[in-house]
């Protein structure tokens, strides 16, 4: 999708969970890529397949029941899915690291935070314990925590501070790719603002690529360069922040914006998307969104749509779209 330096490229990824109730189609034919120093927002509701996608990148899906059926995940040109587990262990934490939603459960309550950070550093670098502790202290300062507090235990920190520690830990080995899975969802608004500010600062100064999973379009607007909107295991719209926010094309994307009360509009009637998320065991035929779509046509229930590039870099997975090259006038949504 982007021609310049790709750090990570996911091609046709399909992941299923094989359960007693049937096959859960968690992710289907997913294509996304991210360049060096870029920030990609992965947006979708519960069950859209966001977390499954990033867990496949880290290769930490529970197998069984999860099964990567097909696809490639190219990181610096090499397919992560073909790597032996021992090699993956080196990549995890050192080149790709992850921040989870709940800072309470990502830290070991019995070890002081500085030791937890330096442990990660020693694991991936051949340096002495003193050097590692020095670097861990630097990391704490980077995320705005005084070095002296390193000897404190996680329970002595508040929720926002814990998430800072988690971020420090994730950045300790200077990874090329940082995956943040709803990093601020568990935090209060003013604390969320602090953490987002910190992440923006880090992205700007460290040239780290970030995949940000969130359901909050506001957070995306704040820190992402690119956006992928997911629905029922598929990317339905992909483009730059400006393309997707100013010119949303897929009916689901448009619907999502209609569901959020607008702080700055006087009249902000909500236009909900009708119906419910489909059962991932029993997905609708054709376009997966068609039972909830307000512009559904006869073709939608029959045929699966394909990604159409409606303007350079802006892809939409919908029958209503006509490729840029063929179209006379743009179809309005």
């Amino acid at each position: 999708m982007m021609s310049e330096d790709k750090l990570l490229e996911i091609k046709d990824l399909t992941v299923e969970y094989r359960t007693v109730d049937g096959v859960v189609h968690a992710v289907t034919d997913l294509n996304i890529s991210i360049g060096k120093g870029q920030t990609l927002g992965l947006v979708g509701e519960t069950g859209a397949g966001k977390t499954t996608t990033v867990k496949s990148i880290m290769r930490i899906l529970p197998d069984p029941p999860a099964k990567i059926v097909s696809g490639e995940i190219l990181f610096e040109g090499e397919d992560l899915l073909k790597k032996p587990e021992s090699h993956m262990r080196e990549i995890r934490g050192e080149k790709i690291s992850m921040i989870f939603q709940d800072p309470m459960t990502s830290l070991n309550p019995t070890i002081p935070v500085l030791d937890q950070i330096s442990e990660a550093i020693v694991l991936h670098n051949k340096i002495t314990k003193q050097e590692a502790e020095q670097r861990a202290g630097d990391m704490l300062e980077l995320v705005g925590i005084r070095r002296e507090r390193g000897s404190d235990y996680p329970h002595q920190f508040s929720g926002g501070m814990k998430q800072r520690v988690v971020i420090a830990m994730a950045l300790a080995c200077n990874p090329q790719l940082l995956i943040a899975d709803e990093p601020t969802t568990a935090l209060d608004v003013t604390i969320q603002a602090q953490v987002l500010e910190l992440m923006k600062e880090i992205i700007r100064t460290r040239d780290t690529s970030v995949i940000m999973i969130t359901h909050d379009l506001g957070i995306v607007a704040e820190i992402c360069d690119y956006v992928a909107i997911m629905y029922a295991g598929e990317v339905v719209e992909y483009g730059t922040l400006r393309q997707v926010f100013e010119n949303p094309k897929h009916p689901y994307t448009v619907g999502l914006f209609g569901c959020i009360p607008d702080l700055y509009a006087e009249d902000d009637a909500l236009i909900p998307i009708k119906g419910l998320m489909p059962d991932p065991v029993n997905l609708p035929e054709g376009c997966r969104f068609h039972p909830r779509c307000n512009q559904v046509c006869e073709k939608c229930s029959r045929e699966r749509p394909h990604m159409v590039e409606i303007e350079p870099g802006h892809f939409v997975n919908c029958h209503l779209m006509v490729p840029e090259t063929e179209q006379g006038g743009e179809q309005d949504v």
């Binding site: 926002g160 506001g218 957070i219 607008d262 009708k274």
Partner: protein
């Protein structure tokens, strides 16, 4: 003028803890008019849920009075309260936790009617439950399903139906949409608004999400650490907030628009503990406009313009200087 349905005067709710008294709600006064929605916002631990529960006496307030229809309900006996309960109901945040997993949907909705012995025969009860299910948009065929078989949105509809069962006048909505996905959240918000129009309900809408609160409320109250710091109509609070905390809170919300450029106020530090709070303004420790006076003297909730209350010593001064620190 509209009439007052509920008046809360100097309400306090303290909890005893190992380290001292936890001031969950500290001397809060306000009223709610009939048919209006009062939004109550604040961050976790600010006492908004405790306040909501104390108003309908799910927990007994430590001090203060709650006047409902001219009657102070904090002084009623348990038996008298049981009758009043019909008029004040609550919808909880987590629709999964607020339904008994071993009761099917019909039993859950019917429970309040059975407890209050509204109907003497089963046919009437059944009719009423089905009417309620229609009202909140639940298909009748779902009557026999259990909560775990339903999705979050439908579960919350059950929660709403239960609360409506006794035809209340007043409902406390405690974060009713926070646990739901955005597309479902919008469905429930619209349902709540429709019900209010149709049944003339009065809401106390508790949430941490300011954009949702602004959408649904007529007036909005902001709480910080057990205190009400600002109270006014929904437009003024967004266009002309007086309290520095309200300003910071507003600026902290991520907005899904690219055309809005805002100056963000990043508050330093965390919310302090509500156990044995220090004298003076509760917000003093994080406030960029804090002066000596703020640390010593507790500001009162004062009316700055008609209907616009704020609890800040420097509200007027800051407003005149355009919110700039000296």
């Amino acid at each position: 003028m509209s009439e007052k349905l509920i008046e809360v005067n100097n309400l306090k709710k303290y909890f005893k803890t190992k380290n001292g008294l936890l001031h969950a709600v500290d001397d809060v006064s306000f009223h709610i008019d009939k048919g209006e929605t009062l939004g109550l916002v604040g961050e976790s631990g600010c006492g908004k849920s405790t306040l909501g529960r104390a108003i309908i006496r799910l927990s007994d307030p430590t001090a203060g009075e709650v006047i409902f229809h001219g009657q102070d309900i904090t002084k009623l006996s348990a038996r008298e309260m049981m009758k009043i309960r019909q008029n004040m109901q609550i919808v909880f945040q987590d629709p999964y936790a607020s339904l008994d997993g071993r009761k099917n949907l019909f039993e859950s909705i019917a429970e309040p009617l059975k407890v209050q012995k509204v109907f003497s025969n089963n046919a009437d009860l059944e009719k009423k439950v089905f009417e309620l299910m229609d009202t909140v948009g639940l298909a009748r065929r779902l009557a026999n399903t259990y909560p775990h078989e339903l999705d979050g949105g439908r579960r919350q509809r059950v929660g709403v139906a239960r609360a409506l069962a006794l035809n209340p006048e007043f409902m406390v909505l405690d974060e009713p949409v926070s646990a739901l996905d955005v597309s479902i959240q919008a469905q429930i918000i619209n349902l709540l608004e429709e019900l209010q129009d149709k049944l003339g309900l009065t809401y106390l809408f508790i949430s941490h999400d300011l954009s949702v609160v602004k959408h649904i409320s007529d007036r909005i109250a902001v709480m910080y650490l057990g205190k009400m710091v600002e109270l006014t109509d929904y437009k003024t609070i967004f266009n002309d907030p007086l309290h520095p905390y309200t300003q910071a809170l507003l600026s902290a919300i991520p907005v899904p628009r690219l055309d809005v450029k805002r100056e963000r106020i990043i508050l330093q530090g965390d919310v302090p503990s509500p156990v044995n709070p220090k004298p003076g303004c509760r917000f003093a420790g994080r406030c960029m406009f804090c002066q000596d006076r703020c640390r010593e003297e507790e500001p009162e909730l004062k009316e700055y313009s008609p209907g616009h209350f704020a609890a800040c010593h420097r509200a007027m001064e800051l407003k005149e200087s355009g919110g700039k620190a000296e």
